[in-house]
């Protein structure tokens, strides 16, 4: 198994890299390849079992765009060929058309998805998410300065049950194109969602054995019950 982590020197916020640490515990023999900003991503030349990229800063978004723009066409080709990707947090916006903030950020993204992100730097959105991926229930956290708007229906990764999707008005959450998966959910997504992690392992062609399965399943079960309860409000006020 070969897992490539893109730009861990900047795409490392909010516990996102725990996803990779957890996969390594599930797959002790897996090779984790960390690709820095100044290196050519390996998946462009050799298929990887998974390519992962985590949350970053606003400056980080700029650097990721700079790093991926020159290889955009190859990236699209790999996606079309079925390369498995998982992108978490705000780096999802790099794959849209634009990113703008009320503090002067103005970036042109890779344009894989027809969508524009707008950030309000004094108004942070925090929410919990309950949604579906095929028949799998997904739980997660969002913590963002803004969201993306304008994407056509049918490209979502998850379907929102409680919480917000790509924005407050959309039920679809994240983006999916072939096996390119991107979501605004931050942090230990795979640690929190054992059924989705098993799906991902299956897709990678790996055994579906989860590390600390008893504890992870119990944590998932409890959180799921909590997020389903009537008294639970997914939006942080």
């Amino acid at each position: 198994m070969r897992i490539e982590v893109l730009f861990p020197e900047i795409c490392n916020l909010f516990g996102d890299l725990a996803n990779i640490r957890y996969l390594k515990l599930c797959l002790p023999d897996a090779e984790i390849i960390e690709t820095s900003l100044k290196s050519r991503p390996k998946f462009l030349d050799t298929p990887m079992d998974l390519v992962y990229m985590g949350s970053t800063t606003e400056r980080g978004l700029e650097l990721v765009v700079e790093a991926l723009s020159p290889v955009k066409d190859e990236l699209v080709q790999r996606i079309d060929e079925g390369q498995l990707f998982l992108v978490t947090g705000n780096t999802m916006d790099v794959f849209g058309k634009t990113m703008e903030s009320d503090h002067g950020l103005s970036l042109t993204g890779l344009g894989l998805f027809d969508t524009d992100a707008k950030y309000y730097m004094l108004k942070r959105h925090n929410s919990m998410f309950l949604g579906k991926f095929e028949d799998i229930e997904i739980v997660g956290f969002k913590s963002l300065f803004g969201m993306t708007h304008g994407a056509p229906q049918g490209e979502g990764l998850f379907l929102t049950v409680r919480g917000v999707g790509r924005n407050e008005n959309e039920k679809e959450e994240g983006f999916r194109r072939n096996y390119f998966f991107a979501t605004y959910l931050i942090g230990p997504l795979l640690v929190m969602n054992p059924p989705f992690t098993r799906y991902l392992l299956r897709r990678m062609g790996a055994p579906e054995t989860l590390a600390f399965s008893e504890t992870i399943e119990e944590a998932y079960r409890r959180r799921l019950a909590e997020f389903h309860s009537d008294s639970f409000d997914p939006i942080y006020h």
């Binding site: 400056r59 956290f141 942090g187 504890t215 944590a219």
Partner: protein, 462 residues
């Protein structure tokens, strides 16, 4: 009209102070909350003492503010501040309301020490114009509120007034880069035996050169991104400190502080490196105010680090330690874990640094746990870790991922039952880790631990 509204708000707020005193609520920010409701730009019309020092940063701002205020008061200054209240706009406004006369003039005080929550900068600095802005450090804090340290640095650079002199940490260059056009001095701590070069922490928020995005090489690294670095690509490097602490001798409680090539001996009234940073920060500000080294050292010897963060006592046969470790703050957790695991002796830990108040309508965002160095708790001297609250499985999972043996992990749903999970083996120290969210519950649980400790020692309270 604005001034009239200000006076009305001020007088009503001032009238609320004796009312609060009678009802024993004098520690609250109610006067500020009330005045800001009536006059949102209240601070615009306030007078000011001769000197204003704003202390901000992720960790250490309370300690720095309090030690600084104590020393200045001991030196005969009339110090106003928000020590009794919050470090957000309502707390700062309350401090001004208490300090000013009925017309908003501040005559009784010559200096203000204001602890300012860094996220409150947009509401504070348009009106409060500090002479000095001290930034202790900028690290990951609450993901939900503070996002990431680069964001907070940008916020401070945007809102701190142009003329303010910055007192900055040379060893922590996210804060050290704030307000690049402002005048500045730096403090730092020289190489120590415990330093490393490669990062051993999960959090490492300065991995690339802020100038050219090149690779940073650390000459020495204290923890996380704190240390002295040079960029291998462009040569950009950490600034040279104006106030440079070295030869930190925790055993004998001394350190040397170098300024302009001359060394001065100081007491080191702490056994932790993070408090040593707080002390050198205090020295730097006082030197900026012109206080001689010898005098600062003398006052420092008479002061102490506020006990609310760390308290220890012998109870019967057991040594009990309360250690604050802010919830939702992976840096605070990592520093506390490192500190505890490095202290001598066997120990058992009870975690109450989880967001217990999130239970009910909300749920704890546990992402921060995965940036917190639970790996320090793998050390052999940590005999038992007790988790409590609704997220016990998440905490246990994080501990397992850190390589902590399952037989050392105990999960107790109700925090009131958790003290009974300690083994009470004489010679094993008992730690209670608590956050700001769980102060009341932690106090109650600590009382129960004490009672059990006495009982296991064959004694009763009295």
């Amino acid at each position: 009209m604005g001034k009239l509204r200000f006076l009305a708000a001020l007088w009503l707020a001032k009238l609320s102070i004796p009312a609060l005193k009678i009802t024993r609520h004098q520690g609250t920010d109610f006067p500020g909350v009330l005045a800001l409701k009536l006059c949102p730009d209240l601070l615009r019309y306030m007078g000011r003492p001769k000197t204003i020092i704003a202390v901000t940063g992720t960790n250490g701002k309370t300690t720095v503010s309090n030690v600084l205020a104590d020393i200045l008061a001991a030196d005969g200054h009339n110090v106003m501040g928000n020590r009794a209240g919050a470090n957000i706009i309502s707390g700062i406004s309350t401090a001004y309301i208490r300090a000013c006369n009925p017309f908003g003039k501040i005559k009784k005080y010559d200096i203000a020490i204001l602890e300012v929550d860094e996220r409150s900068s947009p509401r504070v600095y348009p009106y409060v114009k500090p002479d000095y802005v001290v930034i202790t450090n900028l690290f990951q804090d609450s993901i939900m509120r503070n996002a990431h340290p680069g964001y907070i640095a940008e916020l401070l650079s945007r809102y701190v007034p142009e003329g303010a002199k910055m007192v900055l940490n040379a060893d922590e260059l996210i804060s050290g880069s704030v307000c690049p056009k402002n005048p500045r001095v730096y403090f730092g701590i020289g190489p120590m035996e415990t330093d490393v070069t490669d990062c051993v922490n999960l959090l490492n928020d300065m991995r690339i050169c802020p100038k050219c995005n090149g690779t940073l090489k650390y000459e020495y690294r204290r923890y996380h991104h704190v240390g002295k670095f040079v960029c291998a690509d462009c040569g950009f490097h950490s600034p040279d400190p104006d106030y440079y602490a070295e030869q930190l001798d925790f055993a004998h409680g001394t350190m040397q502080v170098r300024e302009n090539g001359t060394d001065y001996t100081y007491p080191l009234i702490t056994d932790s490196i993070f408090n040593a940073y707080n002390l050198i920060t205090v020295v730097s500000i006082l030197r900026q105010l012109g206080m001689p080294h010898e005098k600062i050292a003398r006052y420092m010897k008479q002061t102490s680090i506020p006990a609310s963060r760390h308290y220890e006592e012998q109870v019967g046969d057991y040594y009990l330690i309360q250690q604050m470790s802010k919830e939702n703050n992976s840096m605070a957790g990592s520093r506390a874990f490192d500190y505890i695991s490095n202290r001598p002796g066997d120990k058992e830990l009870l975690f109450m640094m989880n967001s217990l108040s999130d239970t009910g309508a909300w749920s704890e965002n546990t992402a921060w746990l995965f940036d917190t160095d639970f790996e320090f708790l793998r050390r052999d001297n940590i005999k038992r870790i007790i988790f409590t609250g609704p997220r016990i499985n998440d905490y246990a999972l994080r501990a397992l991922m850190a390589g902590i043996s399952p037989d050392r992990i105990v999960c107790v749903e109700d925090e009131n039952d958790a003290p009974e999970a300690f083994s009470f083996i004489p010679g094993t120290d008992i730690y209670l880790l608590y956050g700001t969210d769980s102060l009341t519950q932690a106090a109650r649980v600590y009382d129960k631990i004490k009672t059990l400790a006495l009982s296991h020692s064959g004694k009763t309270e009295g």
